[in-house]
């Protein structure tokens, strides 16, 4: 495996190449092997604590890799509002780790004081556009940075939805000034579960709106696709990815793996596949 040369200073912006999601089981391997991946992304909530092995590992990894922090817990579309304490912790993590990108999800997660710790789907209505855009704007102000907002995978759709998901996301981005994080696997999973057109989704998002792409695997439970990030990216998702990078130009692309996590080298190999597709695109453009 190619090794990354240490640069001695905190690396800057996320390059338009493939990166990997950093999970705690890979902390030591990443630090020992220094694989040549373009950047790393960490789940913000796993690095809230003052001390401990995880924050020490991220501090060290951060010295050699451009870093993106990806939140899963703010529930920015919750009508009960954004948890101020959680937002303050994200702000603290940003000050500490100095990520080049910060992202969250187009979802809600809590109601009546109970947190479901999941990325729950929103109805695609004007009211939800306004609420999510307002709260994304509040979070951007509080955090002092622009956010990328990710489309979530869905197992149900609200009967009240009046917009296509891509129209919904585009409107949120227009109103709040956020960018979009396009999870191609989520587009595929939702399209299969809800009988939607995945290509229309990708072609429906405005060019220039997508700042990052996520790729992951899913599993099947009967007729339902489950977004478990527990396997290789499937061929259909790679095909959609090719469509996406052609439309949104070369875009930083993350390989995520959260269950049945394999050896770090498997993630690196998967990221190289994304890199080779990005390379082909550049070859065509040259």
């Amino acid at each position: 495996m190619a090794r990354l040369e240490s640069r001695g200073v905190r690396p800057g912006p996320i390059p338009a190449c493939a990166g990997i999601g950093l999970r705690s089981v890979h902390h030591q391997d990443l630090l020992n092997e220094r694989p040549a991946v373009g950047w790393i992304e960490a789940h913000t909530e796993n690095y809230f604590h003052e001390g401990g092995a995880a924050v020490r590992a991220l501090e060290r990894a951060r010295a050699d890799y451009p870093l993106s922090l990806h939140g899963v817990g703010l529930g920015l579309g919750s009508v009960d509002g954004v948890d101020r304490e959680h937002l303050a912790r994200v702000r603290h993590a940003i000050a500490r780790f100095e990520p080049a990108l910060v992202s969250e999800h187009a979802c809600w997660g809590h109601s009546g004081g109970e947190f479901f710790n999941d990325l729950l789907p929103l109805p695609y209505t004007d009211e939800a556009v306004e609420l999510l855009a307002r709260q994304v704007g509040e979070a951007q102000n509080a955090l002092g940075t622009r956010l990328l907002i990710e489309n979530v995978s869905a197992y149900v759709a609200f009967e009240h939805s009046r917009l296509h998901e891509w129209e919904f996301l585009t409107a949120v981005a227009d109103l709040s000034g956020c960018g979009l994080l396009l999870d191609v696997n989520n587009v595929y999973v939702s399209s299969k579960n809800l009988g939607l057109d995945a290509r229309a989704f990708i072609e429906g998002l405005p060019e220039g709106s997508v700042g990052e792409i996520h790729l992951a695997g899913h599993s099947r439970n009967g007729a339902v696709l489950i977004d478990d990030h527990g396997s290789h990216v499937c061929d259909e998702v790679w095909q959609l990815y090719r469509l996406a990078i052609a439309r949104f130009d070369a875009t930083p692309t993350l390989i995520e793996w959260d269950t049945n996590i394999p050896a770090l080298s498997t993630l690196v190999a998967e990221s190289q596949r994304a890199d080779s597709m990005l390379g082909e695109l550049r070859g065509l453009a040259a």
Binding site: E45, F48, G73, L120, N221
Partner: protein, 251 residues
């Protein structure tokens, strides 16, 4: 048309109770979200209480986690906090049963969990005592490492904890004598350590702000053991600050 507030409230209610209606399709897929929430909660709880989970087995742990979640649902978007009330829940839920000892084990594991993500503050050296006269020593009060947690139980929780660091460990008889000890953050990890009862009671008194002489008496140590007791807290890098605590004149 229902408001967003009404839609989220009905979705949340349908996650708590499958019989509650919610305007989504396909409706049966709501069970995926219902299961996700329960599994995320239980998994996070299991990561905070690995020894307890090992001792009771996955089936009983699932039952405990389910009962606990109904009374203490997650209150944060950060799953690391779901175990905060688990020991108190177990103390009430298992009171008077043969599993009552699990509450003390849970307290110990929660302390370990906190210490694992804490920081060790700079300890001062025994040289800091040079500015005090020998007769002042008994009036010294100490600020100990903030990560220090002291535990005393009627059950052998430190032995149980130490014996169950891997799966399939042989059981420890939970009706052996009670134990006490400490949990704290070290530079590169956590220390979980059983203490001799007098040392425990000495540290407990110091930790509660008692001056050295009083802490030594409370622990039933001879005053001649004062210097040794003093040496112990410095040797263990437990002292972050020291101050003379002047007794208030009797009124």
């Amino acid at each position: 048309m229902a408001s967003l507030r009404e839609l989220q409230a009905s979705f949340a209610a349908a996650l708590r109770d499958a019989s509650v209606p919610c305007a989504v399709l396909p409706r049966e897929n709501l069970s995926i979200y219902r299961n996700n929430a329960a599994i995320s909660f239980r998994t996070a709880l299991g990561l905070s209480f690995p020894v307890l989970r090992r001792r009771v087995g996955d089936d009983y742990f699932r039952e405990l986690a389910g009962r606990y979640r109904r009374q203490h649902p997650s209150r944060s978007g950060d799953l690391h906090w779901v175990g905060r009330d688990f020991a108190a829940f177990l103390a009430a839920d298992l009171h008077g049963t043969e599993y009552a000892w699990l509450a003390d084990l849970a307290r110990l594991e929660w302390s370990r969990e906190q210490a694992a993500v804490g920081t060790m503050h700079a300890a001062i050296s025994v040289d800091a005592l040079a500015r005090f006269a020998p007769e002042q020593l008994e009036h010294l009060a100490f600020t100990l490492q903030p990560s220090l947690r002291l535990h005393a139980s009627d059950f052998p929780i430190f032995t149980i904890w130490a014996a169950n660091q891997t799966d399939n460990a042989p059981p420890v008889d939970q009706f052996l004598a009670g134990e006490c000890g400490l949990v704290r953050t070290r530079v590169d990890g956590v220390e979980v350590r059983r203490l001799e009862p007098r040392v425990f009671s000495y540290l407990s008194a110091l930790s509660a702000g008692a001056p050295l002489g009083e802490a030594v008496s409370t622990a039933g140590l001879d005053q001649s053991a004062l210097v040794q007791a003093l040496g112990f807290v410095f040797h263990e890098a437990l002292v972050c600050a020291v101050a003379l605590k002047v007794a208030r004149p009797a009124s």
